[in-house]
Point group: C2
Chain length 109, copies 2
């Protein structure tokens, strides 16, 4: 085993889990916070911002890219990373919807 049984869940459930998975590592949160902080694309220097080796950072960037959260545009020698605003907004709504679905009418606990 070890493989998630995605087939047995709804598309939506798998989607939410996939976004959460992309955010489920402090290095990836750090990358996103850096991109949010500088409020622009980053051409280089992401590796220097993180306490991890270059291949490891590259791998985390790849996961964020695969999740659609960031995009990387070749900019001459370097690569320019940006948060994809549309995806970011879509994901914001997905989490907002999930978290706001609660209704304070519990009957126990």
């Amino acid at each position: 085993m070890g493989a998630t049984k995605s087939d047995h869940f709804t598309q939506k459930q798998n989607d939410i889990a996939a976004i959460a998975k992309a955010l489920a590592h402090p290095a990836r949160i750090a990358i996103l916070e850096y991109l949010l902080k500088v409020d622009a694309c980053i051409c280089g220097d992401i590796v220097n911002e993180l306490p991890l080796a270059q291949p490891t950072v590259s791998q985390h960037l790849k996961e964020l890219k695969n999740a659609g959260i960031i995009s990387g545009n070749i900019e001459g020698n370097a690569i320019c990373y940006c948060i994809d605003e549309k995806v970011w907004e879509k994901n914001r709504k997905i989490f907002e919807t999930l978290f706001e679905r609660i209704n304070k009418k519990k009957t126990c606990c």
Copy 2:
């Protein structure tokens, strides 16, 4: 390796990643959606709601409990599971803050 280097990141970054990790599986999303849907505590029948074996469900419930998202109160024979509203609200704000930090002033891409 395989072990996340939590020490090298801020508490906040680790916290966000930990919440995301708890949400990073469709079964756990399904459990939470069920708890949200029935709008009450669930004493039993969570296992029947999911396409997974009982020990697997129990394990997922444990992870949600460890993350503080749900709590389980012993109710005679069964155990009554609830979403912890305070933690839920706290997590909602954490994600809201993360997602709303974006600023549409990009200079490239």
